[in-house]
């Protein structure tokens, strides 16, 4: 599961029958600095993605989403989904160890 920040909603006009009535969110994955509490704007580098949402997350929420085959697991009948909102995150306690004096990759 990865963390992302909801930056938009997606509504479909023509869609697979299995996706009818589904709710989709546009999510930008968090960078490490944002894990540590950096502001959500400017958005982290990397591409945003659309996730299937059953929990009712709104704009600005931080969500935990899973990808791949596991994202299609929660559905009774097979559904073409590969990113699923598994959790709306309330708090993130994030405290990486202080970088050792030797050179360390910069926090993206």
């Amino acid at each position: 599961m990865r963390l992302g920040h909801v930056i938009g909603k997606v509504t479909l006009s023509a869609a697979e029958p299995a996706l009818r009535g589904a709710r989709f969110l546009l999510v930008q994955p968090l960078s490490r600095a944002q894990f540590a509490g950096a502001p959500m704007e400017p958005l982290a580098p990397g591409s945003s993605l659309v996730i299937y949402d059953d929990l009712g997350a709104g704009l600005g929420h931080i969500v935990g989403f899973t990808e791949g085959a596991e994202a299609a697991a929660p559905f009774a009948n097979p559904t073409p989904v590969d990113a699923y909102n598994a959790a709306i995150v309330d708090t993130i306690q994030y405290s990486p160890p202080l970088p050792p004096p030797a050179s360390r990759k910069s926090v993206t």
Partner: protein
């Protein structure tokens, strides 16, 4: 299975039923020398790994579904083991 370091915990009340009551930790994937690799991911932790401890987590969804006892769980990462600090800690 991936090697990672525990860098934190998340709390989520609105989540998939299979996640309720389980501890979700923030794992920073690391290489063998302990250097960070990529952005953190979340994993379900049944062993109570402490902060900055090194763990091994599985990315196979079926083990996690079996562990939580819900064949429809969307979870994937499951902490399998805590690595002994006997190896040379970086």
């Amino acid at each position: 299975m991936n090697l990672a370091r525990v860098d934190g915990v998340i709390v989520s009340t609105v989540c998939h039923p299979s996640m309720r009551g389980h501890r979700m930790i923030v794992c920073q994937p690391i290489d063998e020398a302990g250097r960070d690799e990529g952005t953190p991911v979340l994993a379900l932790d049944p062993h109570g790994a402490g902060l900055h401890q090194r763990i091994i987590y599985s990315t196979d969804g079926s083990t996690t579904r079996e562990h939580v006892g819900d064949p429809r769980s969307p979870l994937r990462n499951l902490v399998l083991a805590i690595v002994d600090p006997t190896l040379a800690q970086p």
